[in-house]
Amino acid sequence: MSRHEAKFIKEIIKDVLNKLDPKYLYVPEHLVGMDRLAHNIFDFLSTATDDVRIVGIHGMPGIGKTTIAKVVFNQLCYGFEGSCFLSNINETPKKLTGLVRLQTQLLRDILKQDVANFECVDRGKVLINERLRRKRVLFVADDVARQDQLNALMGERSWFGPGSRVIITTRDSNLLRKADQTYQIEELTRDQSLQLFSWHAFKHSKPAEDYIELSKDVVDYCGGLPLALEVMGACLYGKNRGGWKSVIDKLRRIPNHDIQGKLRISYDSLDGEELRNAFLDIACFFIDRKKRYVAKVLGARCGYNPEVDLETLRGRSLIKVNAIGKITMHDLLRDMGREVVRETYPKEPGKRTRIWNQEDAWNVLEQQKVRKSAMHT
């Protein structure tokens, strides 16, 4: 082997290791009814042009906006100088520090290095404009809810270099006025719904013979919503006909638009208090935490190894574990879990089993103080 060749092979290995560095994001194994839309978006964004192109994806919660953005991101991400997928933008705190955090992550992901600390959004805007305007970037702004979030990250198209591509996902199509193309995600058709549901309920593209009618019943209650189909499918997996009928009976009583209520059925059918508690703990406190950490904390509380419980929750599609081992949960499921806790004492946070937001915590502590000082006088 010549010296050139040895060096050549070294370079190739470096390339491969670079590319294996998992830039791409986890997407579910079974995607149904997304191909055409993903291809259209991809086609539009992959055309080589020097302008900055912006695509908007909108639709109701649980319809698959983030999933489709991930699919397109995965196909495109290796062709840019830098890429960034900012997930759950809506989840970041409304305060200005939240926006600064988003700006910092955008800069860090694209420049692949730490950036100097800054404290105000306007400084962040200047930095993004200065540092990224010559870079050809791929940027996904996922689940944007307000204009100020967009303004902080890409006030102007020219903040990104020629040939850059941007995808915005949102529930609110009003935020997409600047987009060059917008795509609305529609509910799945009945056939597509049945297929997706079957992947989760039977690990197969079609329902088992003697469950066809029951499956159609469930699917009709899910309203073509991928999240509901997945969760209901995973909930029914391995259950007997009796189990199915009781779930369908519950579904029947829930109004059509009440998706959270439908998802709740899956929570209610979790066996055992510890399992339900684990779900509620995660919904309230542990989203985006490393699974190992969560297992440790839950283990300390319940006194046994919670790995099995976490696996069960994952099997039921109530939680996901992403490529870097963090636990994630769809926000509709999270809201459902928090509602379970909240509704026990809607007006008295102090009596609830869990308090997850600062405001409630503060009020409760204050009241305690008031109550205590009242007792002393």
Partner: protein, 181 residues
């Protein structure tokens, strides 16, 4: 309720790398070195050899290995285009490029000019004279298209290395994929 179905769609790939090459040209030399280096670096690699005894059709097993790999490395050498097996494999590899997990194709130009691959010049032209005599027109067209696409991808060129250039940058074309499948 059958179990095997679920194992059919491992989205993140069973292999890190699928290695496609012309056995006659590089089996005992370059590709062997590359394979060894990949494995030593802890990269899970599937090595196909166009001269293993088997039929014309690419088997399900092999197809699956291609589909489930995260990266396909195609070692283009002077004789690559004369193997029908290699060409069929290349067509499949490029099909996988558009899957949802976004498989990466990394062409290696081993002692061959990328433009010869792209335009089927030089030794590739000779190979295609024979293909055009013996193979279906549709198939030959498909092969040409695949070579054109692969030759346009960002890859590594041994000659650049020898001349002191480390890179063969062509990032644009890397992601102007076509949904023609």
């Amino acid at each position: 309720m059958t179990e095997p179905e679920s194992s059919r769609s491992i989205s993140l790939g069973a292999y890190d790398v699928f290695l496609s090459f012309r056995g006659e040209d590089t089996r005992k030399t370059f590709t062997d070195h590359l394979y060894t280096a990949l494995v030593q670096a802890g990269i899970h690699t599937f090595r196909d050899d166009d001269e293993l005894p088997r039929g014309e059709e690419i088997s399900d097993h092999l197809l699956r290995a291609v589909q489930e790999s995260k990266i396909s490395i195609v070692v283009f050498s002077k004789g690559y285009a004369s193997s029908r097996w290699c060409l069929n494999e290349l067509v499949e590899i490029l099909k996988c490029k558009n899957r949802k997990t976004g498989q990466i194709v990394l062409p290696i130009f081993y002692d061959i000019d990328p433009s010869d691959v792209r335009k089927q010049n030089g030794s590739f032209a000779e190979a295609f004279v024979k293909h055009e005599e013996r193979s279906e027109e549709k198939l030959v067209k498909e092969w040409r298209k695949a070579l054109e696409e692969a030759g346009n991808l960002s890859g590594r060129n041994l000659n650049d290395m020898a001349n002191g250039y480390a890179f063969f940058p062509n990032l644009w074309s890397q992601y102007t994929l076509h949904f023609s499948m």
